[in-house]
């Protein structure tokens, strides 16, 4: 452990031990996989987007815990960008969803197979 006294230690908790980091990372991985499973199994377009948001969250947890582990703020900053992108994506995707719903009166993702080769 680094014994050099730093200012960070004054108002900031000690750096995470690896074992604790592992705990958080497991939560992140599990949440990601749950989101993924949801994305794969659910057919409602909106819920599928929710699942992607879940995966974003999982990534966010991993980033923040690494940031904490490394005592480096860039990880947290990056989460802000994730949120930004998620927001943008939500806006666009939901607009698309509305558009699609207008076309077919359904949110079933399987209705849309225009990309079929």
């Amino acid at each position: 452990m680094n014994t050099v006294w730093t200012l960070a230690q004054a108002g900031y908790p000690a750096a995470l031990p690896e074992a604790t980091l592992a705990h958080y990372l497991f939560v992140s991985a599990a949440m990601f996989v749950i989101g993924l499973i949801g994305f794969l199994t659910r057919r409602n377009l909106i819920i599928m987007f929710l699942c992607t948001e879940l995966m974003f969250q999982a990534a966010g947890i991993a980033l923040v815990s690494f940031s904490r582990f490394h005592m480096n703020m860039t990880g947290q900053s990056f989460v802000i960008f994730i949120v930004t992108v998620a927001a943008a994506e939500a806006a666009m995707a939901l607009a698309l969803v509305v558009l699609l719903f207008r076309k077919r009166e359904s949110l079933d993702a399987e209705e849309w197979t225009e990309l079929k080769g």
Binding site: L36, F39, L40, R43, M48, A109, E110, W112, T113, E114, L115, K116, G117
Partner: protein
């Protein structure tokens, strides 16, 4: 490679650019070119301004007359040596080091400059002179087209004169080629003048394409000339060729490289195309689809003599080759005979004249081939006058009888009112063409035939020409006896009906005169039809007006007077024309010809060249011995004879007699006892000859033969290529394109189009990638 550079260096040092002292010519020579171009511009302006008068014709006549006047001025000024009038740079290239360090200095120079010597002036005189006269004639002849094609006609007419002037006056072979192709274009435009008529369009196309075949030979000749001599300017070529000429003089042909001997052969191919010789002659008869003034000027008097001009101009080179001149001679002789046989069997008078043109051109080539360039040039001049006269007379008839040209449907023109001058013109023309004694045609033809017997080894050519002279006299007077004299009878041509609505087609004449539908029965029926018109009082032939008559009269006088060229100036054997030719590059004094021997001189063989050398520049070859080096020493021993007599002396009578026989046969067969236009004694004799007249009438099926041998296989090849292109070449490409497509179909099912599918793919991909990392990091 070093061999090459060293050799080239050698060339540069050994043969420095010969700069013969050439005088610069009179600048007004350029005006001869500029005036027709001015005419083109003025006619185009008339077309744009929609001038509906005969203005373009008079502008043309004015321009051409001015050009003629300048040419006469050039003639008066012309000295013994050629002069060069510089215009501007056309295609000039240079490369290499002028210092000659790395690579020798090369130049390719084709200036827009004029080379004026006697030959040029001679040609230009009759080109511009005849063009002026014929333009005057055409101003009346084409008057039916005022407002429609009039401007077009005269613009092309002017352009033709310009091109012909370029051809004749250019100072290098590329200028000649410019004119060569230019006259081809004008010929194309003017043959196709009646562009609504498919036959005219077809004929125009045929003329251009067949000419192009010859042009390729000429082009290759130019390239070869350049490669060998490093220049295509006449003066340089002649100067460079001097060593070879010396070698040829000594009969050492082995010293002359094969490619030099090949040059004249290639040029001859070009000449054969332009001058309608075997085997490329077939376009000229068809070219009669054009208006008659065009036929007279382009396809009788001037353009077709371009080939003769080419050979005459490049005569020094022709003398270097062992095969070129015999080739020219034999092709000419055979063409003369062949065309004459076809001409005998035709019924369309214009077409007869066309074949006679081919035949007479054959004479000229034969003359060149038997070493009498002077005779050939003389024949060109006389032929230009009398053939133009004949054509214009035919044109007047055609014009007057609504396109009628069938000699079985016209008779007794002499006795009709207003046709006297036409009849006179016809008579004069026919006499000349038939070689009636003391006409100009007689002298010029005699020169040719005589020389053929003089030159060793060419006597067969002479016999052919003599035979042809008889045939010529026959078919010429066949026309005369049927059309001009005899009982009065006429039927209008097929332009009667359209004359009111579409006067634009002033003289587009019937195609019936040739083609397979032409048999006796069909004509009998035709006769009846036209008889009805004739008697119905609808049709009155309109006699030619002042312009046509003036021109015909002038030409009649000129073509008779041309015989005077043989005698004037006195002291020069052969007269003015040979005198002019002798001052040009075409000069050639045959050591066998007796006129080359001054009277009283002992060893004329040596005297001749020396005498000539006084008047001509040194580099102009004046005398070259033919095959046998012996000839130089003992010319007379080898000079040919006509059955043991002096050819020139005897032929004076022989050819006159042959002409008389021909005329007499024509008289017996076509005039004596003829009561109607259609039937003559000849018709009764025809069946005795079997199919031969029919074959001759069908031009010995040469067109069909060419079609079968050249066009059909080429067309088949074209279709094959088209198929190959579509199936094989493009098919291969498409096959390459198909490979990715096929690969695509293999993996296509994986693209279900369902979102979940793609997501599952992604997830699987991540899992697999992670698994790979997992395996790799396994400890």
């Amino acid at each position: 490679m070093t061999i090459f550079s060293s050799l080239s260096m050698l060339a540069a040092t050994a043969a420095p650019k010969p700069m013969s002292p050439i005088l610069s010519g009179p600048p007004e020579a350029l005006l001869v070119l500029a005036l027709p171009i001015l005419g083109v511009i003025l006619c185009t302006l008339c077309a744009i301004m929609r001038v509906r008068t005969r203005m373009p014709a008079f502008l043309t006549v004015g321009c051409l007359a001015a050009a003629f006047a300048i040419t006469v001025g050039l003639y008066l000024k012309s000295g013994p040596a050629p002069v060069i009038t510089s215009g501007f740079e056309w295609i000039n290239l240079s490369w290499g080091d002028s210092a000659g360090e790395n690579s020798p200095f090369h130049q390719f120079i084709a200036n827009f400059s004029l080379y004026l010597d006697a030959l040029t002036v001679l040609w230009m005189l009759f080109v511009t002179g005849l063009a002026t006269l014929i333009a005057l004639y055409a101003s009346e002849y084409m008057s039916g087209d005022v407002g429609t094609g009039y401007c077009r006609f005269f613009a092309a007419f002017n352009l033709f004169v310009f091109s012909m002037s370029c051809l004749v006056m250019g100072d290098n072979m590329l200028m000649l080629f410019l004119g060569w192709e230019g006259v081809g274009l004008c010929s194309y435009l003017l043959i196709g003048y009646f562009y609504k008529k498919p036959s005219a369009v077809e004929a125009a196309k045929k003329a251009f394409i067949l000419n192009r075949i010859g042009d390729l030979g000429l082009l290759m000749g130019i390239c070869l000339t350049y490669v060998h001599f490093g220049s295509i300017e006449y003066r340089d070529i002649f100067a460079q060729a001097q060593p070879y000429i010396d070698a040829a003089k000594a009969g050492r042909y082995s010293e002359i490289p094969a490619i030099v001997q090949l040059i004249p052969v290639l040029l001859a191919v070009g000449a054969f195309g332009k001058s309608a010789q075997l085997p490329l002659y077939v376009w000229l008869p068809d070219a009669m689809e054009g208006p008659t003034p065009v036929s007279a000027l382009i396809h009788a008097a001037t353009m077709v003599t371009a080939g003769v001009y080419l050979v005459a101009r490049m005569y020094p080179l022709f003398l270097l080759s062992e095969i070129a001149l015999p080739l020219v001679g034999w092709v000419g002789a055979l063409t003369a005979l062949f065309a004459a046989t076809i001409g005998m069997a035709q019924f369309d008078i214009k077409r007869i004249m066309a074949y006679s043109t081919v035949s007479q051109l054959g004479y000229m080539f034969a003359g060149l081939g038997v070493l009498t360039s002077t005779g050939a040039a003389f024949h060109v001049v006389t032929h230009a006058f009398f053939k133009a006269l004949l054509f214009l007379s035919c044109g007047a008839i055609m014009h007057g009888f609504a396109g009628q040209l069938d000699l079985r449907k016209l008779s007794g023109l002499r006795r009709m009112k207003g046709w006297g001058i036409v009849s006179l013109g016809m008579l004069v023309g026919c006499l000349n063409l038939a070689g009636f004694p003391f006409t100009s045609g007689f002298f010029s033809k005699d020169m040719l035939i005589g020389e053929a017997f003089v030159t060793p080894g060419t006597a067969p050519i002479g016999w052919i020409l003599l035979l042809t002279a008889g045939l010529t006299a026959y078919y010429t007077f066949r026309v005369f006896f049927r059309v001009i004299v005899g009982p009065v009878h006429y039927e209008p041509g097929d332009e009667l009906h359209s004359a009111h609505e579409e006067h634009a087609h002033g003289d587009s004449h019937n195609e019936h005169a040739h083609g397979d539908s032409h048999n006796e029965h069909a004509h009998v029926e035709d006769d009846h039809q036209h008889h009805d018109h004739g008697h119905g009082g609808h049709f009155h032939p309109h006699a030619p007006g002042w312009a046509i008559n003036t021109v015909l009269l002038t030409l009649s006088v000129l073509s008779l007077a041309a015989s005077g060229l043989y005698f004037v100036p006195t002291g020069v054997h052969g007269g003015a024309v040979p005198a002019m030719v002798d001052r040009s590059s075409a000069a050639y004094q045959s050591p066998f010809a007796h006129h080359a021997i001054p009277e009283g001189a002992g060893d004329g063989g040596h005297e001749g060249p020396d005498h000539a050398a006084e008047t001509v520049p040194s580099y102009v070859p004046t005398s070259i011995a033919m095959e046998d080096p012996h000839a130089v020493e003992h010319p007379h021993e080898n000079a040919g004879t006509f059955l043991g007599w002096d050819p020139h002396a005897v032929l004076f009578y022989v050819s006159g007699a042959v002409g008389f026989i021909g005329i007499f046969v024509a008289y017996v067969l076509h005039y004596a006892g003829r009561t109607t236009a259609a039937t003559a004694r000849a018709d009764a004799l025809l069946p005795m000859l079997g199919p031969i007249p029919r074959w001759a009438q069908h031009k010995w099926y040469v067109d069909e033969f060419y079609n079968l041998v050249v066009r059909v296989p080429l067309l088949a090849l074209a279709h094959t290529f088209h198929l190959i292109d579509k199936l094989l070449v493009d098919g291969l490409v498409r096959m390459f394109g198909a490979i990715p497509r096929w690969l695509g179909t293999l993996i296509r099912p994986t693209q279900s189009g369902e979102l979940h599918g793609y997501a599952a793919g992604m997830a699987t991909g991540i899992a697999v990638l992670l698994f790979i990392v997992f395996m790799l990091t396994l400890r």
